[in-house]
Point group: C2
Chain length 359, copies 2
C-alpha cells in the first residue's frame, strides 16, 4: 500500500507514500535533471527545505529555491511572476525540474508555474499536508483571481507525487480537519467503506495509527486517480470531485482566503450538499453520522450561520462548473452515486435558510 | 487553395483564407457558443471590431469585447489579468468562446488567456496581419517576461483560424516586411519553390496580386502545419521554425519590444544564421538572393551594426531552445534541410563581428 499509479491519456506517474521520502526524491525522478528549482513557502522552508535540497544535490546538479509567503494569498499573479523570475535567473531550461514542496497552495502555484514556464516543464509534487493528498494528484494547477478561486490555471500532470508521511504529524489540528474533509469526500463519492471507517473513529486525528493514516490517504487518492483516469480534463465525471466545493469556494471567497481553511469550507459545503441532495432526490443520506463526525472533530459548522445566502450566491454564480448561466452542483443520490445537476437559486436559498436555522 | 487542415495529436482544425470572412465567423465555428469575448487592440478595434461583433451576434448569444493597447508591450501580466477580469465580468464559462482579433500580439495574449481561463476554453484566431499567418497556427501562445520574450505561455490549439485577406492590404510597409520574413523562413526551411517565388519578385508587397498573396500565405502555413503535426510540443522538428529567432529575439529584447518588428528582427536573424550555417557546414547557401531580397524590401540590415554582441549574447543564453547551458541554434545544411545544433559562443561572436563589418 505504498505506491499507486495514476494514468491519464497523456502520461502516467506514481504516487508514493513513504516516511522520509523527502530526503530521497532523486531516486524517484523519471530522469536526471541538471537544473532544479524548489518552490516552497516560508513555514515549510524552515522545516524541510534543507532535507529536500541536500537530497537533490549532486555533481553537475544545480538546486535553487524560491520561497513565497505561506497562505492562500500567495496564489497570486505577483508570486506567480516572482517564481518565473526565479526560474529565469536560475537559468532553468525546458529540461529542468520544479519541485513543489508544501501544501495545496504551493502545489497549485508551483504547478502552474511549471505548466507555463517556457510553455511547460516537468515538476514533482512533494505534499506536506493532508489536504495536499487531494490537490497534488490529477494535474489541476491554478492561481486565484480577485473574483474567484483557481480561475487562472491549467491541467499539467506532475512526473511524480512523493508523499512524506513524516511531515503530517506536526500539522496543527485545523490542517488535519482541512485535509480529512477531502478524504471523507472521496469516501462519500465512491468508497462507502472508507466513509464508514472515518466516521466510526472518535480518537483525535493526530493519534491515528500511522498505518491507518496511510491507508486512508491511499484510499482517498485511489478514488481520485480512478476518476482522473476516466476524465482528465473535467468534461464529465471529474466534476464529481467538486462535491461540497460550490458553497465551499463561496465561503472561502467571502471570508477572505485564509480565514477558514479550504477543507473546512468544503466540509460545510458537503453538509449543505447532503441536505440539498435529500431534498432533490427525496433520499436518505447519512447526515447523522456526517454531522456527528463534523462535531467530533470540531469543524466550524456554526460559521455557516454567519453568511447571508445573498452574499454567497454571487460567488456560486461564478463557479467553473456552471453552464449557460445556471448554477450546477454535485449532489448525491446515495453514497457512491454522485450527479452534477443544475439547481435553481430559489431552492438553494430555501435549503440554506432551513439548514442554518437548524444548524 | 482556401482551406488547409491542421492536425495535432489532440485536435484538428481548419485554416481558412477568405476575403470578408471576418463578417461570417459564425459559419466556421465547430459549435454554437452562448457567450463570446472578442479580444483585440485599439487599432484593430477601430477597423474591424464592429464587423466581427455584429457577425457573431444572434438570439441568445452575448458578445462582449476587451480592447488592449496595440503593440508588443500588451503581452504583459497586466493585460493578461485584465482580459481574465473581462471574461469573469462577462460571465464566460467553460463552454464559452474567445475570439483573438488582431496580429500576433493579440493571438498570443488572447490565446494564453483562453488556455488558462478556468483551465482552458475554446478560442478562434482571426489574424489581421501577414505575420499572424505564422503565429496563429500551431497553438503556441504566451506573454512576455521582462527577462525574455514568450517565457510565460502554453500550447493551446485554436478551434479555427479565419484569415481575412481583406485586412492585409491596408497594412503599413513595416508590417508587410515583418510578415514576409516568416513566409521566406518557411520557404528556406522546407519549400525551395516558395523561397524562389519570393526572391524573384521585385514589385512592392502591396502591389502583389491577391491570388499570389493567398498562395504565398497558404504555402507558408502548409510548411508550418506539417511541422506542427509531427511535433506539436516542440520536442524535435518544431524547433526548426525558430530559424532566425535566436538572434531575432535578442535584437527585439535589446531594442525594447516595438522598436523593430518581430519579423524584421527575424529577417536579420536569418541573415546571421545563413552566414553561420555556411561557416559550420562549409556549404553554399543562397545568401546573395536573400541579401538582395532584404535590400529590395528595405529590411533594416544596417541596424545589425548597432548592437554589440556582448549585449546580445546574454539574451541568447536565455533562449528556450537551449539545454544544459549551451546556446542552440537552427542552421541550414542547405535550403530545405535545417538542423538544431549547439553553437559555441566564440563562434557566434566571431561570425557576428565578421558579418557586421561586412554588412
Amino acid at each position: 500500500m505504498n505506491t499507486l499509479r495514476v494514468d491519464t491519456n497523456e502520461t502516467s506517474y506514481e504516487v508514493q507514500f513513504q516516511s522520509g521520502i523527502r530526503k530521497r526524491i532523486k531516486e524517484f525522478l523519471p530522469r536526471a535533471y541538471s537544473n532544479i528549482l524548489i518552490v516552497t513557502d516560508d513555514v515549510v522552508a524552515k522545516l524541510y527545505l534543507d532535507d529536500v535540497q541536500s537530497g537533490l544535490e549532486g555533481e553537475g546538479v544545480q538546486v535553487a529555491s524560491c520561497v513565497v509567503p505561506s497562505g492562500e494569498s500567495s496564489k497570486s499573479m505577483e508570486q506567480f511572476y516572482r517564481c518565473h523570475t526565479a526560474a529565469l535567473e536560475e537559468n532553468l531550461d525546458r529540461k529542468s525540474l520544479l519541485v513543489a514542496l508544501g501544501g495545496g497552495m504551493i502545489g497549485d502555484l508551483a504547478g502552474f508555474v511549471a505548466s507555463t514556464y517556457m510553455r511547460g516543464i516537468d515538476y514533482v509534487q512533494v505534499p506536506t499536508t493532508i489536504l495536499a493528498h487531494d490537490s497534488s494528484v490529477g494535474g489541476k494547477v491554478a492561481i486565484n483571481h480577485e473574483q474567484g478561486k483557481n480561475m487562472i490555471g491549467a491541467f499539467h500532470q506532475p512526473v511524480a507525487v512523493l508523499y512524506d508521511t513524516d511531515t503530517l504529524w506536526s500539522l496543527p489540528e485545523q490542517e488535519w480537519r482541512s485535509g480529512m474533509a477531502e478524504v471523507i469526500k472521496h469516501g462519500l463519492l465512491a468508497d462507502g467503506q472508507l466513509y464508514e471507517q472515518l466516521v466510526t473513529h472518535q480518537t483525535p486525528f493526530q493519534s491515528f495509527d500511522g498505518h491507518l493514516l496511510t491507508h486512508l490517504l491511499y484510499r482517498g487518492v485511489a478514488v481520485k486517480s480512478k476518476i482522473v483516469k476516466e476524465d482528465e480534463r473535467e468534461n464529465g465525471v471529474r466534476s464529481y470531485l467538486n462535491l461540497g466545493h460550490t458553497l465551499g469556494h463561496a465561503i472561502e471567497g467571502e471570508a477572505g482566503y485564509g480565514e477558514i481553511t479550504h477543507g473546512e469550507a468544503v466540509a460545510l459545503g458537503i453538509y449543505f450538499a447532503l441536505h440539498l441532495s435529500e431534498r432533490v432526490y427525496g433520499s436518505k443520506l447519512p447526515l447523522d453520522s456526517y454531522t456527528n463526525w463534523l462535531h467530533t472533530y470540531n469543524y466550524p459548522l456554526h460559521k455557516l450561520k454567519e453568511y447571508s445566502i445573498d452574499v454567497l450566491l454571487p460567488w456560486m454564480r461564478r463557479d467553473k462548473k456552471n453552464e449557460h448561466g445556471s448554477i450546477r452542483m454535485v449532489l448525491l443520490k446515495e453514497v457512491g452515486e454522485p450527479a452534477l445537476v443544475p439547481v435553481e437559486e430559489d431552492l438553494i436559498r430555501e435549503v440554506f435558510l432551513q439548514v442554518t436555522e437548524q444548524g
